[in-house]
């Protein structure tokens, strides 16, 4: 691994599909060899387009793509040492599983005996040893996923691109595949670039994450950096759930200027008359208690005029639904407050802003919660 020869280097990468905004808007990015790199963002944020630009399925409007120090911007997909695992797997339905896996070797002119031997080996690696003679249509979703992995890795690409590969699988299978993906990457030692809109998946798997928003990288860092130190309201809200304090409320509640975020699991809720156990407290009224299994989500209307979400472990002292409407004291530590230095372009409109949604919505979406 060397800094001057990254596996992938994107410089000023821009793609316009003719609309008002660029789908990809001037991305500069280095991805190191052997890295498990995730591109995380909502749909339409440009992450898949970046992947397709790296694979060569799209031509950039401006900028370059380099692979191990070599400019491949003008090369056709078949001329790049990069392979893709497609979202819909794209297994050839008329070929057997073995022929699918052997395809990349076949078009490289590898003899039938040799390519079948290698394909069988690759199928063993993904634990599908006996399935070579089947057609893709006879496999389950998880099995097809593994065939797609085997097919893309049997030719030993320098970089493997994965386009939401786990999106079509159910939760249990997805968690199992996450582990397998991580193991496979360690085993093969090739660079993985993983596109997903599932923040939990990105946090679990990645060495580094790039959070995409509107064609740009909003923040780049390790999972811990992204989760613990989000730089913008967008990242704070998209990666996990955050209580976001706009400038005025920051001054009123937190006692400091600028925009700030506070994770729900760092917020405590106690009776109004109890002795505070935290550095800071603010009075409010318990508006809603939502039971989520191991935790409860408490929604409190602060007297300062803002709604805050707290996540409490469900132990013996758990707050119950009966306590709705009672006066409470919300507490937190100063060190858990994160200053959002980078304002997201569209935060001026609270009605459509995803960042303030979580703090103002009376029924926050369960799916954005990391502590699920």
């Amino acid at each position: 691994m060397s800094a001057d020869r990254p596996a992938i280097r994107l410089t000023g990468l821009t793609k316009s599909f003719g609309g008002a905004a660029n789908a990809v808007d001037g991305i500069d990015l280095d991805i190191a060899e052997g890295e498990f790199f995730s591109m995380l963002g909502p749909s339409g944020s440009g992450k898949t387009t970046v992947l397709r630009l790296i694979a060569g399925f799209e031509q950039p409007t401006a900028g370059t793509v380099s692979l191990l120090g070599e400019d491949v911007t003008d090369r056709a997909p078949f001329d790049r040492d990069v392979n893709t695992v497609f979202q819909d797997y794209a297994l050839f339905p008329h070929m057997s599983v073995l022929d699918n896996v052997a395809y990349g070797l076949r078009v490289r002119g590898v003899s039938r005996r040799e390519r079948h031997a290698q394909a069988r080996q690759a199928l063993e690696t993904v634990r599908l040893g006996g399935f070579g003679d089947r057609k893709p249509g006879q496999l389950s979703g998880g099995q097809r996923q593994r065939v797609a992995l085997a097919r893309a890795t049997v030719v030993r690409p320098k970089v493997l691109l994965l386009d939401e590969p786990l999106g079509a699988l159910d939760l249990k299978l997805r968690e199992q595949m996450q582990v397998e993906l991580k193991e496979l990457q360690r085993e093969l030692g090739i660079t993985f670039i993983f596109v997903t809109h599932d923040q939990e998946e990105a946090l679990t798997l990645s060495d580094r994450i790039a959070v995409f928003n509107e064609g740009r990288i909003e923040q780049l860092g390790t999972p811990a950096e992204i989760y613990d130190r989000p730089l913008s309201p967008f990242v704070a809200a998209f990666v996990g759930t955050s209580n976001i304090f706009p400038d005025a409320l920051s001054r009123a509640v937190l006692g400091r200027g600028g925009m700030h975020a506070l994770r729900p699991e760092k917020v405590t809720v106690g009776r109004a008359d109890a002795v505070p156990s935290t550095q800071r407290t603010a009075p409010g009224t318990l508006a809603e208690v939502i039971y989520v299994g191991s935790t409860s989500r408490l929604i409190v209307d602060l007297d300062a005029g803002m709604r805050i979400i707290a996540l409490e472990q469900n132990d013996a002292h758990r707050v119950t639904e009966d306590e709705r409407g009672s006066r409470v004291s919300v507490g937190w530590q100063d060190s858990d407050i994160v200053a959002l230095e980078k304002a997201t372009a569209d935060t001026t409109d609270p009605a459509t802003d995803p960042a303030t949604d979580t703090a103002t919505d009376s029924a926050p979406k369960l799916t954005t919660d990391t502590a699920r």
């Binding site: 060569g56 056709a76 893709t84 497609f86 794209a90 297994l91 050839f92 339905p93 078009v107 249509g137």
Partner: protein
């Protein structure tokens, strides 16, 4: 879905009547091919195998069948190649005038045959200065046969999407290899369906053929029309018709089997 007894009865009866209307006349032709009368009278006064024997010795009829098969085969082949190419161009590439070309390709099948016939006749003789021959008939037939191939192939390409082709390119295959190993196998049944239709269209075409056939080029439909009202030949026409019905069942049956097998394997 469940239907009431009455509804089922009525729908069944209507289906029966429609099938009868379609197939009863064919039965009449079949019976007439064994009739002792030469003037298509019903019911036949007696039965004989004479016409069947004479039909297979009739040089005119056999030659016409051969001419028709030859024209239909070559026109179908031309349509398969050109229809596939134009479908790929229109479905996989963006270029100026794509919509216009798409319309112009389909138009010939909607044009009245007599117009196509006159136009091509003029173009061949006066503008291009070519002698009308069997080749001119093939070209004329290909202009509308291409449409059935085009329609089938472009519908299939649209349904397939580009992800298989992208996966193939991603794995290192060039354009031609991708077509040979991935796209073509997926198009096979569409090509068969389009090709069978094209063959059938060409085989029984009569109007355009009349205008574009050179002297002495006699396709089967033209031969039948010429001989239908000659008392000595009418029974032989019946025999030919029966043979054609039997022969055309085979490819349709095969096409259905292929379509059925495909559904199962998907």
């Amino acid at each position: 879905m469940r239907l009431s007894r009455l509804a089922r009865g009525i729908l069944g009866a209507v289906t029966g009547v429609i099938l009868l209307v379609i197939y009863l006349p064919l039965m009449v032709v079949l019976v007439n091919s064994f009739s002792t009368s030469t003037s298509l009278v019903w019911p036949p006064p007696g039965l004989t195998l004479e016409w069947w024997g004479r039909a297979f010795q009739s040089e005119g009829a056999l030659e016409a069948v051969l001419t028709s098969v030859q024209i239909a085969l070559i026109a179908t082949l031309v349509s398969l190649v050109l229809g596939t190419l134009i479908s790929l161009a229109l479905q996989r590439f963006a270029f100026f005038g794509r919509e216009a070309v798409s319309l112009l390709v389909i138009l010939p099948i909607a044009l009245p045959g007599i117009i196509t016939g006159i136009a091509l006749n003029n173009a061949f003789r006066t503008i291009l200065g070519v002698q009308l021959s069997i080749a001119t008939v093939i070209v004329a037939h290909a202009t509308f046969c291409i449409v059935t191939v085009f329609n089938n192939v472009i519908a299939r390409l649209r349904r397939l999407g580009t992800s298989y082709e992208e996966a193939s390119a991603d794995l290192g295959a060039g354009l031609w290899t991708t077509f040979r190993l991935v796209t073509f196998p997926q198009l096979r049944s569409a090509l068969l369906a389009g090709g069978l239709l094209a063959f059938a269209l060409s085989f029984d075409e009569i109007i355009v053929t009349t205008f574009t056939a050179g002297a002495g080029v006699k396709t089967l439909p033209i031969w039948i029309l010429d001989n239908l009202f000659r008392p000595s030949q009418a029974p032989i026409v019946n025999v030919i018709a029966v043979v054609l019905v039997l022969v055309s069942i085979v490819p349709i049956y095969i096409a259905q089997r292929i379509a059925g097998a495909e559904k199962v394997s998907r």
